[in-house]
Every structure is written in C-alpha cells, then in structure tokens.
Symmetry: C2
Amino acid sequence: MGCNLAIAGVTGAVGQEFLKILDEREFPFSSLKVLASSRSAGKKINFRKKQYSVEELTKDSFAGVDIALFSAGGARSKDFAPAAVKAGAVVVDNSSAFRMDPEVPLVIPEINPEKIKQHKGIIANPNCSTIIGIVPVWPLHRANTVKRMVISTYQAASGAGYPAMLELENQTREILDGKEPTCKAFPYQIAFNVFNHNSALGPNGYNFEERKMVNETRKIFDCADIAITCTCIRVPVFRAHCESINLEFADPITAEQVRDLLSTAPGVALIDDRENNRFPMPVDASGKDEIFVGRIRQDESITDNRGINIWVAGDQLRKGAALNAVQIAEKLL
Amino acid sequence: MGCNLAIAGVTGAVGQEFLKILDEREFPFSSLKVLASSRSAGKKINFRKKQYSVEELTKDSFAGVDIALFSAGGARSKDFAPAAVKAGAVVVDNSSAFRMDPEVPLVIPEINPEKIKQHKGIIANPNCSTIIGIVPVWPLHRANTVKRMVISTYQAASGAGYPAMLELENQTREILDGKEPTCKAFPYQIAFNVFNHNSALGPNGYNFEERKMVNETRKIFDCADIAITCTCIRVPVFRAHCESINLEFADPITAEQVRDLLSTAPGVALIDDRENNRFPMPVDASGKDEIFVGRIRQDESITDNRGINIWVAGDQLRKGAALNAVQIAEKLL
C-alpha cells in the first residue's frame, strides 16, 4: 500500500526522470495520475508493467491525490498547485514559483529535512545549480562557517528541457556537416560554444539563475548574511552541471579536513585523484544520484588558511531536480 | 626591406596562425625560414605567393636570422632557443620554458612593452589563459589596485594543439554515431564533457595552467603580492577560451567605471548588452584579435563596493599565442 500520486509535467525531461527514479527506488503508491498540457493528453506511458494515459492538467486533476510532484514550469505551478493543495494533496514543486515564499519550505533532504513538516501544502524543490553546488558545501559550513562563496557554473542543456538537449545534438550535427546551426530553444549557438545562462537579467546584470543561487542558498542554510556571487554559464553538455566553487571560511581549514568532512557527507562522492588528474566530469555524474566533488585545494589567496577551492559535478535531472523531489516525497510518507 | 625571420614549429596550430597573422599585418621581412621537427621536413608551405620548404629545426638553423618565433613546445625551446640567440637572433618564445626566468622579459604589448628592450636574446610570450585574462584587468588595476582575483576558465581544445582540435571533432562524430569516443590527445572525453586542465598537477593540487596564471600575472603586472586563485577547465570548444573573473579592488569601483575604463582599453572590445542577454562567446572571439569583455557586474559579496565580476572571451591561437608574439616582433623592429 502507498499513497495516491500525481505527476504534473510528466512528458518533460524532469517528468520522465520522476518515473525512472520512482521505479528505481520502488516508491510505494497505490494509484498514479500522469498529467501534462492538453498537447500531450492521451499519450500512453508505460510504467511498472502498466500503461497510463496522460491526462490534461486542470484544477480538477487532484481529487483523492495525496502527493503531487510538479515540474511543468513556474506559470503552471502558480495556476494549479493551489488547486492541488485545496483538493488535499501535498505538492512538491520543482519550479521557482514558490521557492522564496516565506510560507513555503525550500528543502534539500541532506540539509534541512526538518523543514518538510512545516509545509502548508507546498514544498519547493530548489534550483538545480543551487542543489548541486550546496549539498557538498553544507557539511563544511556546519563545521566551519562559510563567509563567502564565489561560484562559476558549467551548466548542461538539460536545464532548459528536452528541446534544448535535442538542439545541442542537432546543432552539433549541423556544424559537423558544414551548415549554419539552428537556434530555437537557446538564443545562441550551444554546440561548440559557451554563453551566459539564458534566464532574464535583473537590473544589476545578474541572470535569474545567479539570483536563485544566492537567495535559495541563504534560505536553505538559514543564513541571511552568507556572501555569495555567481556567474552562471551554459556549456555544450547534455545533462550534468559542473561548478567551480571558491570558499572563504570563518576559521582556518585544510584541504585534508575538507576531504575528510566530504568523505562521509550524505549524497556526496569524492573523485579527487591528483595522481591521475582524475576529477569529477559530467560523464561521471550523468545518470548518477551523488554530487561528485574533487579538486579540493587550499586557496592561498585568502589569508590565514581560510580559503578552499572545490569542483563539483551533479546530474541536473536527478539530484538537481527529480531525485531531490522524490526524496522529499519519501520523507512525507 | 625587413628582417630575416624564422618560425620554429611552423606546422603546429600556433605556427600556422603565425603565418596568417604575419600576412594580415604585412609584417616586413626579407627572408623567411620555416622550421619544424624532422617528421615535417620537406613539406611545402605556401605563403604570400611563394612556396617554402619546411626545414628540420636544428642548432644550425639560425645563421643570419634576426627574429625567430618559436612555438615548438618547451623542450625544443630549451634545446634550440639558446642556439638561435648565439647565432644572433632574438627569440620570441611561445613556450613556458623561459617565462619565469628573471633574465627573460615576459611581455604583453598592451601591458609591459617597455620590458622588450631589456631582453638578452629571448622574450617570452605568456600562457594563453594569462594573456586572455589579464589584458582587460590591467587598465582596471592601474586605475584601482586589484587585490585579489578568483578565476575559473572555460578553455578550448586548441590549447592542446591540432590533434586535440581534431579529437574534439572526431569524438563528437563517434558519440553522435553511438560509438565509444577515442581518447588520444586528451586523457578524457572532451566531446559533450568538461574536465580539469590536462597539465601536470603540483603538490598543492593546482595544475600547471593554474600556476602559470598566478606566477605570470605577478611577473607581468610587476606586482608580487596580487592574490590570485584559478581553476582551469577544458570545455568542448575549438579555439577560444572564456574566463569568469572575480575582482577585489583596493578602493570602491562601480560597474559603470569598469565599463568606461574598458571601452578605451587597447586590445579590448566590449560585448555587454544586458537588454539582449548578449555577452562574449567563443564564436565571437574565434579568429578575432580582441579580448571581448562583458557581464560587468558589481559583486555585492565584497564590502564597500570593491568587488566586480567580468566575463572574457579570446582566441587562444591569436591573442593567446601567435598574435601576441607577432606584436612583440613588431615592437622589436
């Protein structure tokens, strides 16, 4: 026996990953509703030897639903999550719609699982770059307060959904065939190129992804004064983000201490083999649950041995999105 | 009339770029020797309507040569540059062999051209990431001392030569055809992947590229106490490097002041269009002489408005290597 489950946005890249992860983790449910926009209504989805028919996501979709996993974009979350809550469901929402709402817990189970029970119907899943960056920083922060983080990201196409992943593949073929690359999902060429994250820029010049990382980290760490600056960049990779993270601590810390703290940290796996120049790569992280960490180095540009550089890689669709949400749902049960 | 010129390593990616740039800039020479390893001896090279035959690089190659442009790797520079100097040539060396030798000027013409005349036969061309990163930082540093830099790079395959550029193309085809990628020039998959720079790691865990950026910047800026930390990363791009650079200044500075300073800086071009989310990309910089700068933002994680983030892109083979060396040779004339 399990709960009555619904997935909103089931045909998207994260929606499909929800199904994979629910299956792998043998998530217990007694009924499953698969919801998407009217375009996808009627599509068949095979899951655990049963066939499900995609239903159109409406305000009436949630009668009898206990847990609704949402990944259908911010606008749809705003429109339909309140209806799901009204119908009695708890919503785990992967969009940015409710993350900074003070009434809504923003949860990474490895960091602040205790917030889950404070929910009033909606629990927000953080942004992918936030999750991937801060899962390994949290155990360090608890041991020795992080005063400041400087982050540069190397973000995969998957963060912009299936069409963006396809566009990376198609543009790559076009360029190798000597053709002009076709840009639709992204504003600029993604194949063999690198560009500023394709989210809206604020008046201070930071893109929305960068502002999410700052604000969400402060909320999740429950630490309003942690200083953070980010530069979020797209690279031609399919589904795993990397981040170069420079950390300034309150007190002295060594690379060895960081390695020790991370070697037992939940959700974290070390790949830090200096001898073979072997460190986390997107190909390591793709399809995996862990956040991989390496290149752990003392940063001598910070006084008193208070500086550390680390390098992380994590699957954008799994821990960066679907896995984290399913982990929250597991805690709800 | 012009000088007697030699190019050592003419068949490599930088060697070929030397020829293009000498032609474009109508570099005046009365004779040209094209040198490479014995493997390439006898190859024909067409240049300015004349055909040249590649000769094997030996200690006897430099009789009568006035200027020798070297890009044949550090070991060959160590072996043959002293012979060229003994024969009366001035060597502009693109390898890392002599860069940190206190007797050898390390020159970026936009920054420290006055060092050229102190040469004792050899002038070193800095590392590509160093040049691309610091050409735009120098005018800022002169206006308001840079105390600390945190740099993360997004480096193209070209830095590892022609075979690496070909490997990016071939691996990409292999992966799109569903095959395993073949790794030869790089230790790990470069297509659709990202990894730590493929240079030797020091005991502190920093790769050689990162140590070059720190040490060379201090020498070129003539500023031993500038604090710098780097994370150098390869991305699947052909020939232009990008860098995310976080700057801490001695005194307050605004994004507008940085934009003003860079708008007239030699060798720098701004692409900083927030309205259209249009900033420097490798495809902008490829084949171009300028270092492109954008994403100029106040970094509020540094107190007293002393923090700035910038993002740069520059052609690794041109300003990162061949162009800078030819500019030095032009000053020598």
